[in-house]
Symmetry: C2
Subunit: 354 residues, 2 copies
C-alpha cells in the first residue's frame, strides 16, 4: 500500500494533489532527489506523480533533477513486463485496458498505464487524460494511470514516457502498459520500449487490415479482434481466421515467437484471460531463448542513440551563433542560392567553432 | 549534343570512361571545380559522371570539391520535372522507365534516371546497375542513366542522389526520374526530392495493395497497374477499379491533385503516353496553385535539416574524446548502470567541451 510522504516539506500545497500537477510543480519547492527516490521506492503515488511531472517539465532545473531521480531509480527498475497496446480510435483500447487491468489486479499484480500521444498539447483531453474512461482501474491503489506527456515532438514525448517507465518500475509496478493511438509513427516509439506488442482491431477483417500499416502488423505479438460480442461475434471469428491466414505471409520474428490472433470482448470478458496468457507465454519463450534481454539491450542502445541525437540538435538550436545566422541561411537555401548541404555546413561550423 | 572534354587534363585514363568510375576517380588528378562545372553546363556526360563520382566518394578532398561543384551548379538547376517511381521487385520498373523514357526522347526531352537503393553495396548489381535492362535508353545521347550510389545508410545514399539531381539539371536534363525499389523507407527519401510520385503495381488488386505500406499509397500521384497485356488485361482493369475505389478513402492531397489510377504495359505501349499526360497535368495544376514551388521549398528545408543532423552526428562520431569514452558509456547503458539520457549527456558534454 503506498505511503503518504510527509506534508511539511511541501510549500503550501497538499500532497494529496488536488491541483493540476503542472501548476503544482511550479509552485512547489523542489526536494533533494533522494527524497523523491525514497518516496518512489516506498510506493508513494504522490512522489511518483511529482517526479514524472519533473520529467515532463521543460524547465532546466526540473530536467536536471528528473535525470538525477531517474539515475537513482535505474538500479531498481527493469523488473516488469512492458506491454505496448495500439489500435485505431474507436477500437476500444480503454475498455480493453480496464478489463485486462482488473484481471491483473485480481492476480496480485501492480499495473502502471502510460500513454504516448504526440498530438496531445495539454495532458487534459489526451488519451487516458479522461480517467473516467478507466473508472474501476483508476480507483484501485494497485493501478497507476498517467496520461500522455504533452510535447511538440514525438521523440520528446516518447523519451519522457520511457523515463516514466523506469520510475514506475522502481515504485513496484510489475506490469507496464504503454498505450498509443494507431496513427503515424507513435507505434514505432511504443515498440521501442515494449516487450510485447498488442494490436487491437475491430471485426471486419480485410478492409480493416488495409488501414493499418504493414509495419505495425509486423510488430504485433498478438492481434486481438475486439468487441467480439453479440452479433459481432461470428464476424470477429471470421476476421480472426483471415488475420491468421494473413500472418502466415509475414517472415518469422527474431524473437522466435509466432504471433497469435484472438477474439476478445471487454464487455463479456471473452478472451481477456487468454490475451494475458499469451503475454506470459511470450515472456516465457523469450526469457528462455534470450531474446527478452537482448531486446531490452537493443532498446537501451536505440535510446542512447536517440538521446544523443536529440541533445545535439537541442544544443545546436540554442547556440547563439547559430540562432543569429540560421534565418539567413534558411532563406538562402530556400531561394536556391545555397545547397542544403552547404547551408548545413555553414551553420554546423559556426556551432562547433563557437 | 554533349561535347567531349579535353583529354590532356586526364592522367592516363581515357575520358571515354571504360574503367569503373570509382577507380577512375582515385587515379585521376582532380580538376578545379570550375572546369567540371563548365563541362557539365556544356552537357558533357563524362564531366557529369566524374562530378557525381566525387559526390559519391567518401574521401574528404572529393567531398569538398563535390560541394564546390554543387554550389556552382545550383543557379543552373531546378528547371526540370522530377518524377519518383517505385514498385515492388518484379513489377517491371526498368521496362516501364525505358518505355516512358523513349517516349520522352521522341518529344525532344532530355532524361536523367537516378536511383536510390540503400541495399546496394557496390554500384554493380544494384538496381539500374545493369544498363542492359534499359538497353535502348542507355544507348541514347539524350538519356543519362546512373545506378544508385553505394553507401551504408539510406540518409547518405539519398543525399548523394539529391545532389546528383542538381548536377543533372545543370547539364540540361529537363526530366529526372528517381527510381527506388518498393521496400522500406527509401520511398520517403524519393518522395522528399520528387515533384511527382508514381507507384507501379501488378494486376491482382487487393492482395497487392496490402503488401504496399499505406503511407506509400498515400504519396502516389499516379498508380499505374503495369503488365496490363494479354490475359492480364482484364485483371488489370479490375485492379484499376479497385484501386480507384480505395483511393477515395484517402484524404485529399495538399497539392490539390486527385491521384489517378491507370493501366499500362511497357510491352504494348498501352497507357505510357497517358501516364506522361498525367505528369504534365499534375505539373500544370501545381504550378498554377503554387504547390509546385511550395513543395520544392519544403523539400529544400527538409534537406537542410537532414544535412544539419547528419553533419552533427558525423562530427560527434569523429570526435576523439567521444571515441575514447563511447564504448564504456554504451556498456554502462546496456548494463542499466546509466540511463540512455545520462549516457548521451556525458558524451555530448565531452563533444561540446572538447
Amino acid at each position: 500500500m503506498p505511503k503518504r510522504t510527509k506534508p511539511q516539506v511541501v510549500s503550501g500545497v497538499s500532497p494529496s494533489g488536488s491541483l493540476n500537477p503542472h501548476i503544482q510543480a511550479q509552485r512547489r519547492k523542489l526536494r533533494p532527489p533522494g527524497e523523491y527516490v525514497r518516496g518512489i521506492l516506498e510506493g508513494s503515488r504522490v512522489m511518483l506523480s511529482q517526479a514524472i511531472t519533473l520529467i515532463e517539465s521543460t524547465r532546466p532545473e526540473h530536467q536536471k533533477l528528473a535525470q538525477e531521480i531517474i539515475g537513482l531509480c535505474l538500479p531498481h527498475s527493469g523488473h516488469s513486463i512492458r506491454i505496448g497496446i495500439t489500435g485505431s480510435p474507436g477500437v476500444g483500447k480503454s475498455t480493453f485496458i480496464e478489463a485486462l487491468g482488473l484481471l491483473l489486479l485480481e492476480q496480485g499484480r501492480r499495473l502502471a498505464v502510460l500513454a504516448i500521444d504526440p498530438s496531445s498539447k495539454v495532458s487534459k483531453g489526451s488519451i487516458l487524460g479522461d480517467k473516467t474512461r478507466m473508472e474501476k482501474l483508476s480507483g484501485s491503489e494497485a493501478a497507476f494511470i498517467r496520461p500522455s506527456p504533452a510535447g511538440e515532438s514525438l521523440g520528446g514525448v516518447a523519451r519522457k514516457t520511457r523515463e516514466s517507465i523506469i520510475l514506475c518500475e522502481a515504485a513496484g509496478y510489475d506490469t507496464i502498459i504503454i498505450e498509443t493511438v494507431g496513427v503515424g509513427q507513435s507505434e514505432t516509439a511504443v515498440h521501442s520500449m515494449a516487450d510485447f506488442f498488442l494490436l487491437l482491431l475491430l471485426p471486419g477483417a480485410g478492409d480493416e487490415l488495409q488501414g493499418i500499416k504493414r509495419g505495425i502488423v509486423e510488430m504485433a505479438d498478438l492481434i486481438a479482434v475486439n468487441k467480439a460480442d453479440g452479433e459481432r461475434l461470428p464476424l470477429a471469428k471470421r476476421a480472426r481466421q483471415e488475420y491468421r491466414n494473413a500472418l502466415h505471409l509475414f517472415p518469422p520474428k527474431e524473437s522466435g515467437w509466432a504471433p497469435k490472433v484472438e477474439v476478445c470482448s471487454a464487455t463479456t470478458g471473452l478472451g481477456i484471460p487468454e490475451a494475458w496468457q499469451q503475454v506470459l507465454s511470450h515472456w516465457k519463450t523469450t526469457e528462455e531463448n534470450g531474446y527478452f534481454l537482448k531486446n531490452r539491450r537493443n532498446q537501451a542502445y536505440y535510446w542512447l542513440r536517440e538521446s544523443i541525437n536529440q541533445q545535439l540538435l537541442a544544443a545546436f538550436a540554442q547556440d547563439p551563433a547559430v540562432q543569429e545566422k540560421r534565418k539567413a541561411v534558411e532563406q538562402a537555401v530556400l531561394e536556391g542560392k545555397l545547397s542544403p548541404f552547404q547551408g548545413a555546413e555553414e551553420l554546423v561550423a559556426l556551432f562547433l567553432g563557437g
